[in-house]
Symmetry: C2
Subunit: 274 residues, 2 copies
């Protein structure tokens, strides 16, 4: 027999993060930077450990061609799916065949105008880009310190922090910008003019400010480390994550959001459409 759940026992999504005010969205994105930086730095304390990413080398019995990294990502996403993580719009997994939540979740109404959040899902691209960056983050000798379990554990935590930032930005920034100029976006969307839309969602001065701030944070966060016992991560590496991965994929997510956005006037579900 199930216990009845009091209303206040259900997880609620913080309303502070649900906003279409571009300044508040930017502030929330800024607040996520430290967690990304912390997790990249923590991963960078281990060697690159290429074996952990090689198919068939997971050490799991009967795992076939799966790598240890793939295995960890799969386990983590299955656990998080049970905890209802992926009901939150900006939490997008790499796997599409995850189990249903085991936890009751009560989400507030969303101002987003999209039928399927996974139309915006760029987590597979984040994973690919992240793995491409790993050799720069972990340019230690030797390349293998045997700490495969810790390495992939930290990988998954870093990827989740990045994916949260990318999708939060993609969803809320895109909707906010659309609402600020609906006619302009509707015209370019109707024409399928990706370049024009990209230009309208790009603010080079904001990107510059983010990159400046992030590289400064990387140095401050590590100001007191003892380099005899802890490795210092170069600001350029974290900057590279932001410049070549996080910012472009946020814009890619914005484009996907806009191209899949419900047409104005059809707010809510499309159940009335034949």
């Amino acid at each position: 027999m199930h216990e009845p759940f009091a209303a206040h026992s259900l997880p609620r999504y913080s309303r502070a993060m649900i906003t279409l005010d571009l300044n508040l969205i930017a502030a929330h994105l800024e607040g996520l930077e430290e967690t990304i930086i912390h997790r990249l730095i923590d991963r960078g304390q281990f060697a690159a450990n290429p074996t952990a990413y090689r198919p068939g080398q997971s050490g799991f019995r009967g795992a076939g061609e799966t790598s240890l990294f793939d295995m960890r990502l799969r386990y983590q996403e299955e656990m998080d799916a049970a905890f209802a993580r992926y009901l939150v719009p900006e939490e997008r997994p790499t796997h599409r065949d995850l189990p249903a939540p085991r936890r009751e979740a009560q989400l507030p109404p969303t101002p987003l105008e999209i039928d399927d959040l996974d139309q915006v899902n760029v987590t597979p691209q984040i994973v690919a880009g992240y793995l491409g960056f790993l050799p720069r983050l972990c340019n230690l000798e030797p390349q293998d310190d045997g700490q495969y379990g810790s390495s992939v554990e930290h990988d998954v935590l870093a990827i989740q922090a990045i994916a949260r930032r990318v999708h939060y930005g993609a969803l809320y920034v895109a909707e906010s910008k659309y609402r600020a100029a609906p006619d302009l976006f509707a015209r370019h969307l109707a024409a399928g003019d990706r370049d024009e839309i990209l230009q309208n969602i790009t603010r080079p001065e904001v990107e510059e400010r983010i990159l400046m701030r992030v590289s400064q944070k990387v140095d401050y966060v590590q100001a007191t480390i003892n380099t005899a016992v802890r490795r210092r991560i170069d600001r350029e590496v974290v900057l590279g994550f932001y410049r070549d991965l996080i910012i472009p994929l946020t814009k890619e997510g914005e484009l996907r959001y806009l191209f899949n956005r419900r047409p104005t006037g059809s707010s809510g579900s499309r159940s009335g459409t034949p």
Copy 2:
């Protein structure tokens, strides 16, 4: 059919961390401080959310009296057990009935002289102490921001970082100190003189140095945060974690290790003893 595993594909435990040189042990403990600080600060971005710790309020169907926090800790430890985390001496779980590892693990010989690592396991005490500290770490208003899932996710990560530090210290520091003065420790152990042993494993000047260093790090790590978007954690709170929880429980673990240490001369298994 299983794939054969090449020797280099098996996880190996970093030899750098297996040492009985007290300076190297202290250096490794120092290197773990940033991860603990990062994780406490990240948890402190959320409200205390007492509902997440209340029995019967997990939101999981059929979970009975389990809290959401208990549920997360259980899921995390089951996942980590599958990945063979608890074969590593300093990784001690709260649960004793975890599934067997699904991953092949190859550990180097240990210099530790104990039959059952869980005789030293103080993770349940870490959890209790951590939960007691939470209201100080998250003294936000309102006390409930609805972010229960994120809160318990960060709790478990912080607890794991603390437990690794406590048990690494307990095991390797105790064995190192014992070997530096085996006759003295053997005498006090034979007499069951806990106070005398505690005095012999305590170095107040080292504790002072750790506390100074940790509180300095807490401020440096947060030097560049924008307090409009991110909450600053008081150095006193993290200091409290170290002073009242991490250091005393490391010493408690040392005591347990020493009282359960194999008598000199019986190195290896006790299979020869009737």
